[in-house]
């Protein structure tokens, strides 16, 4: 989230699209209800289903899943056509006037530089024209034919309300009401909050779904202000933290990158990461990349990371492909190229697409280790559970370990929520049986491996035997010790920003004190400030909220630098006065920036210095056009899901998303609309959390049995009775469930023809207390978003028919 949960109360319009917060984030959604009750806010819900969020909306608009870009591009076109922009914001705070270099174009659904064989772009032309002064050329009148504003108008021209209706199945009149309601927030006094979740990310173009709303929000001047923002409602309690700390193939904590092969040394790695301002005087956090990186290396390898050895640069693995994400990992496993997997608190058998492929991949590995507080399906992929897991154990040679771990009530530490708050929690009971914490288990395994390398040698032991490991009890580092490493500390006396010497061995106050000379160590620069010499800032519990801003600045710690609303400089006009007195966050008092939040700007940098408010960007402004930073294009474009009930009406020659990676066998495993005519989607129910709560008695009682949702029209067409058993199948697999025939789903009329939606909740498996069932991943295709490799779980094709009950069920 750019803002935070309580801040939603300030919104004038709230759009929930690509999510269902009332059911999936109920206590956060209460702030939407608060905004409706006390700020007269209007709630817009755009969703294929009439969800519980929709049931309290002021305006509900249906949409066919996988067409969000067409819809939102239509909204952006409406704003431009009807002059519903926040003009000063757009001209001062966005790249609307930036001139794009010659050669860039978009024709027939493809940007310049497409290579069909590689399914990738040469992005050379996707950049600004650079003037003789070395800076990007800007036309403040926004009239230059190659400036971003003019290119945007041209790019959006096809997304008329009629085209939106044909593609999305959203009635034109309702769509226009959505546009009108959103457009009211172009006023500097008003703001719209966009709430989204996996309904946007689970697509082959998920990142561009989000980009589309970023464009709308930027045109309306809704980023950086109270009640505005892009609110990513993360799925799990610490998925934000795991991402921040970089537990991904290609990341170093704090969104730094693992080097690629072609960066053989530290100099070549840093050469590509020099911050070059694109406008005069622009500043950015990223100009300190070297300080964050060197401090990370020091946190990893201590005094073994030296200037002489390039800060132990060789200790880091180098990538030969963009990323070894899970889709690639299990593709390699299916090909017999993986030896094993160590799986912490994760149930991939029921989480990754194409269950049959997952079972095959697991069966080909030598061993897997599952560390989990619950008995998961993954740990039992080899066990026969009748038709729910129809395997022959004697034919599966995989060695399996199931290691019992502690739950949240049995450990202490911090979790990072959607608001970027790091909140500390405490232990309340002893773990049952022989459960141990993940920290202890990983430490015990690591120390055994390290000892074996020390004793017997082996492949490149250096990075292992030299890993900094000075915990008081080697086998059981404490959460406090680890949190202090994440925060960062001095290794030698070093001056702070004012020149005062900080002695060695002190916790730093924040990332501004980190150095590139080896005098500081820091595990994750964006978390710096979480555990300072003042103590554990994540454990703070002062809930006072000066000015009733919905910020509570002394509750826990928010990254970065305890800032609660990102880009909050944009809440003021270029002169430093708040756009809205009622929504004041910070302001310029003639000497410095003051206010309720930590300014996202140099505290003493005067407004007339020309520094843009978006200091994470080289331009200092928000991007309507993203240069070469996205793999699949600098503007979003409408592409159909890889399995779609209809052809691409906007660009008839394009199938799927052109730059999304898909492996050969997975491509062959795609079905078509003739054989599989219905548009399927998957989602959560409010009574369950993924596969976890089927182990909890009350939740199992509340929602005991798997079902699929279909419309009354489809039920009639297929002869399916309410509550009867149906079989749903795709090119990849099949499942059985009870039919929930509902008015909540209606056929969508797309290009004059009905599209039937089949909704498949995702909470059942063959372990736990609920009745056994199937997860939608038995059916879903293996294809990911071009930028993130997030699988397309929200839009694919199935067929459906009445069937007999599973063998263990009663009709």
């Amino acid at each position: 989230m750019t803002n935070l949960w309580m801040d939603i109360k300030h919104a004038d319009v709230i759009t929930v699209m690509g999510g269902n917060a009332a059911e999936a984030h109920p206590c956060g959604f209460k702030w939407v209800v608060e905004a409706k009750a006390h700020n007269n806010a209007k709630l817009i819900v755009v969703d294929p289903r009439f969800t519980r969020t929709a049931s309290v909306a002021d305006l509900y608009c249906p949409i066919r899943q996988g067409t969000d870009i067409a819809f939102l591009s239509g909204v952006a076109k409406y704003l431009l056509d009807n002059d519903k922009l926040q003009h000063r914001y757009v001209s001062a705070y966005t790249n609307a006037g930036y001139v794009v270099r010659e050669g860039y174009d978009f024709q027939d659904g493809l940007f310049t530089g497409y290579d069909a064989d590689k399914r990738d772009y040469d992005k050379t032309t996707w950049d600004y024209e650079i003037g003789p002064d070395g800076y990007a050329v800007v036309d403040e009148t926004m009239q230059h034919p190659r400036c971003v504003m003019q290119l945007l108008k041209k790019h959006l021209a096809i997304y008329t309300p009629e085209m939106v209706e044909r593609i999305c199945g959203s009635p034109k009149e309702t769509f226009l009401k959505v546009c009108e309601m959103m457009a009211t927030t172009a006023s500097p006094e008003k703001s719209m909050a966009s709430l989204y979740a996996l309904g946007w990310t689970h697509h082959s173009k998920g990142s561009q779904n989000i980009r589309s709303m970023c464009i709308v929000q930027t045109l309306l001047g809704n980023i950086g202000v109270l009640g505005g923002g892009m609110q990513a409602l993360r799925g799990h309690s610490n998925i934000q933290g795991l991402t921040d700390i970089g537990l991904m193939s290609n990341l170093i904590p704090g969104y730094l990158n693992i080097p690629v092969e072609k960066e053989p040394d530290y100099a070549s790695y840093m050469a590509k990461r020099q911050f070059k301002p694109l406008r005069p005087g622009q500043t950015s956090y990223w100009q300190n990349y070297n300080k964050f990186f060197v401090s990370f290396q020091k946190a990893m390898w201590g005094d073994k990371a030296t200037k002489e050895n390039d800060w132990a640069y060789d200790y880091l693995p180098k990538l030969d492909v963009p990323t070894y994400d899970v889709l690639r990992g299990f593709e390699l496993a299916k090909q017999g190229k993986m030896t094993g997997y160590v799986i912490q608190g994760f149930n991939p058998l029921l989480s990754f697409p194409n269950r049959a492929k997952m079972t095959e991949a697991f069966s080909k590995m030598k061993f897997i280790v599952v560390m989990d507080p619950l008995k998961t399906e993954t740990a039992r992929f080899w066990e026969n559970h009748g038709e729910y897991n129809d395997v022959d154990p004697t034919k599966i040679q995989t060695e399996v370990f199931e290691l019992p771990t502690t739950l949240f009530v049995e450990e202490e530490g911090s979790l990072s929520n959607s608001s970027r708050w790091l909140q500390w929690h405490w232990q309340a009971q002893e773990a049952p049986g022989e459960c141990r914490s993940d920290i202890e288990i990983m430490s015990e395994i690591f120390l055994r491996v390290r000892n074996a390398y020390k004793k017997d040698g082996g492949a490149f032991p250096d990075a292992i035997v030299n890993l900094k490991w000075d915990y008081a009890i080697a086998e059981s580092p404490t959460p406090t010790e680890l949190a202090r490493e994440l925060n960062g500390y001095t290794l030698a006396p070093t001056p702070d920003l004012n020149g005062t010497i900080i002695p060695a061995g002190k916790q730093v106050d924040g990332f501004a004190q980190l150095k590139d000379d080896g005098t500081t160590a820091c595990g994750c620069w964006i978390y710096s400030g979480c555990y300072t010499e003042k103590g554990n800032m994540m454990a703070r519990r002062d809930n006072t909220d000066p000015g009733d801003r919905g910020i509570a600045p002394n509750w826990a710690f928010a990254w970065p630098a305890n800032r609660r609303v990102l880009y909050n400089r944009a809440s003021c006009d270029p002169e430093g006065r708040p756009w809205s007195e009622k929504k004041k966050l910070i302001e310029w008092n003639g000497k410095q920036w003051i206010g309720f939040d930590v300014p996202d700007y140099g505290v003493t940098v005067a407004p007339d210095k020309g520094v843009g408010p978006f200091i994470l960007n080289q331009e200092g402004v928000a991007r309507l056009w993203t240069r070469g930073l996205m793999r699949d294009g600098p503007f979003p474009a409408h592409y159909e899901p890889f399995e779609s009930p209809m052809a691409n009406l906007a660009f008839p020659r394009i199938k799927g998303a052109p730059a999304s990676r898909i492996f050969k066998d997975d491509l062959a495993d795609l079905g078509d609309a003739k054989e599989f005519p219905y548009a399927a989607t998957s989602y959560r129910l409010t009574e369950h959390f993924h596969g976890w709560t089927k182990h909890a008695r009350i939740n199992a009682i509340l929602q005991p049995e798997a079902f699929v949702e279909i419309s009354e029209e489809l039920a009639k067409e297929k002869g399916i009775a309410k509550g009867s058993w149906v079989r749903v199948w795709s090119k990849r697999g099949s499942l059985k469930a009870k039919a929930l025939v509902t008015k909540r789903i209606k056929p969508l009329i797309c290009d004059g023809k009905p599209v039937h939606v089949v909704g498949i909740p995702q909470h059942w498996g063959f372990m736990g207390l609920t009745k056994k069932g199937w997860h939608p991943n038995s059916l879903t295709p293996v294809v990911g978003d071009a930028n993130t490799e997030t699988p397309e779980f929200k839009a694919w094709l199935v067929n459906i028919e009445p069937t007999t009950p599973p063998s263990d069920a009663v009709a």
């Binding site: 109920p26 092969e261 004697t394 959460p479 182990h695 699988p791």
Partner: protein, 198 residues
């Protein structure tokens, strides 16, 4: 916000309240107040309170864990009741249908309790000791790393290991994540991911 008053006022929002509410909808209207009355003496007089956060979604509601056992020597603590934390700025004491049922999650029958091992081709798990499991896992990891570690690609130093995969868990703490990062990366592993993609 006055902590004591808010807390007492929130009895009906607790896990018992969820079941009671559901039954109430079926016509067992008196159950909810009865349940609330029954837990009151336990909660306030005999239980220890611990602050925590709900482990499910990313709202991160504050919860109060009520446990028996006073942490004295040889006394085992056990959580008996969980409710929303009224001091918490986001949830203000409320919980959703998932959070309200956390107690059943904590004490689920299907929680793992002992290390288990399934030998190749076997039809069952067998209980093993921690030492057996950890020694064997470390041995398997080292064997594969020594066999498949790629130090060089031509002249380039690449120091990568791509035949073992690692998955981090989205409900573990930041501190666990950091320790996991350190250990996994130090081995040169690149097949490394978490739930962020799914």
């Amino acid at each position: 916000m006055t902590v004591q008053v808010s807390r007492r006022g929130l009895l009906k929002g607790a896990g018992a309240g969820l079941a009671g509410g559901t039954l109430g909808a079926l016509g067992f209207g008196g159950l909810e107040p009865a349940m609330a009355a029954a837990v009151r003496p336990f909660k306030l007089a005999q239980m220890r309170e611990t602050r925590n956060t709900c482990p499910y979604c990313s709202v991160a509601c504050g919860v109060i864990l009520y446990s028996l056992g006073d942490r004295s020597k040889n006394a085992r603590s056990s959580v008996m009741h969980i409710e929303g934390d009224p001091d918490h700025p986001i949830n203000r004491g409320t919980l959703c249908p998932k959070g309200s049922a956390l107690l059943d999650f904590v004490h689920a029958e299907t929680r793992t309790k002992y290390p288990l091992h399934r030998a190749p081709g076997s039809s069952e798990f067998k209980r093993v000791s921690w030492d057996f499991a950890l020694d064997r896992i470390a041995q398997l990891l080292k064997e594969d790393r020594d066999k498949n570690f790629v130090a060089k690609n031509g002249d380039l130093t690449v120091n990568r290991w791509t035949t073992m995969g690692f998955l981090g868990a989205s409900a573990t703490t930041n501190e666990t994540a950091w320790l996991t990062y350190k250990t996994v990366r130090s081995m040169g592993a690149l097949v490394f991911d978490n739930q962020a993609r799914v």
